[in-house]
Symmetry: C2
Subunit: 233 residues, 2 copies
């Protein structure tokens, strides 16, 4: 069991490799250590909501968060997932807009909160950090643009294959080749941009083609190559 109530420290954060905050000089890290807030969220709780103003951003310490936009009839479109070491909620601060997505945990999650003011200061004072954040944003932009192409031109089957590959890339598989993120069929559908029933049908097709194996929300990857062929990665 994870000790949920440990207050994470930036200085010895286990996400050091991936976290952008590590690009700050040590003295700044220490300051953040005192100024930041630490928030705990149970599974299925909202961190911030589309259309609201974010007065700070969050650095995920543990857990997984889905970022989604809500369509007219309330249908979610998942834009991306964030996991330990990722930051969320910074876009709207920097663009001076309202949040363009809702952030909701899909697992118990611990996140550090850093104020908008601090973010601006960090960008202004530390060019290395600014460059790194810019890089991150630009990569995200590239991913979103790729997503536009995919949704516009690929079939649901291809997109589902691709999303599975993306999830494998992002969350990995365990020793038994089981994908290490456990989404509902509806969440998968909301990533792919399709109906829940379509995802179900396609998953069971993939299963009869011996590409995957299903046990509830666990997805075991049997034939990665075939999956790559389907998604034409």
């Amino acid at each position: 069991m994870k000790k949920v109530k440990d207050i994470p420290s930036c200085l010895d954060c286990t996400n050091a490799k991936t976290c952008i905050l590590k690009k700050l000089p040590p003295e700044e890290m220490e300051k953040i250590e005192y100024e930041k807030g630490v928030h705990f969220y149970k599974k299925n709780n909202i961190i911030y909501r589309e259309g609201n103003r974010n007065n700070g951003f969050y650095c995920i310490n543990s857990g997984i968060v889905k970022l989604y936009k809500t369509g007219l009839e309330g249908k979610e479109q998942i834009i991306r997932f964030a996991k330990a070491g990722n930051i969320i909620g910074y876009r709207s601060i920097l663009s001076g807009e309202l949040a363009c997505t809702t952030a909701k945990t899909i697992e118990d999650t611990t996140a550090c909160f850093i104020s908008a003011y601090k973010l601006t200061e960090m960008v202004t004072k530390y060019p290395v950090f600014a460059m790194e954040l810019m890089k991150l944003t630009c990569k995200e932009l590239g991913e979103s643009n790729k997503y536009i192409l995919d949704i516009a031109q690929k079939t649901v089957r291809e997109r589902l294959a691709e999303i599975l590959l993306l999830l494998i890339d992002n969350f990995g598989v365990d020793s038994e080749n089981i994908l290490q993120i456990f989404l509902t069929r509806e969440e998968l559908a909301n990533m792919v941009g399709t109906a829940t029933e379509s995802v179900i049908r396609l998953l069971s097709e993939f299963k009869s083609d011996n590409i995957i194996e299903l046990k509830g929300r666990k997805i075991k990857i049997l034939n990665l190559q075939q999956l790559q062929r389907l998604g034409s990665y």
Copy 2:
């Protein structure tokens, strides 16, 4: 007639209001003035190509450029347009990736070329510029994310209406309410993410509903409100 061969100067650039370069201090502007290259492109020419490495970015002085990704069977998906005062090609430099779109002129275009090295220097040396560029990138990211939702959840009719509204916003209408960008049906389809024939059918529907009037590639807006209702802006 436009005098195509005038060398544009940053110092008295007519796009001053919108151009991000104006956030640089005057002495830096003058340096750029000497270091930049000026390129002229005829209509339908490629400025840079998806998958290549950009060693600089472009500031559009006049003309219009479409930025698109190419799908498997060569079908274009237009991501956005850039007009005078906009910059293009900077994303891949900052993310350290290859260009994720192709930039092609849809009108005769003049663009200033500034090296990748210079861009990095500008971001590092001028926090105000860095902030502004970050803001721009974050806005683009918000727009791309919105686009994902739209393509995933809206009908082609709704998307076409929305694209028309977006074009009106971006390029305006003249005194006769004629949209000031002239796209082929195919280009419209490549924005909406649909087939050319579908765009044609829907445009003529809009026409019989007295929402628009068509004269070749000229689109006259007769009923903006109705269009907004269709796009549920």
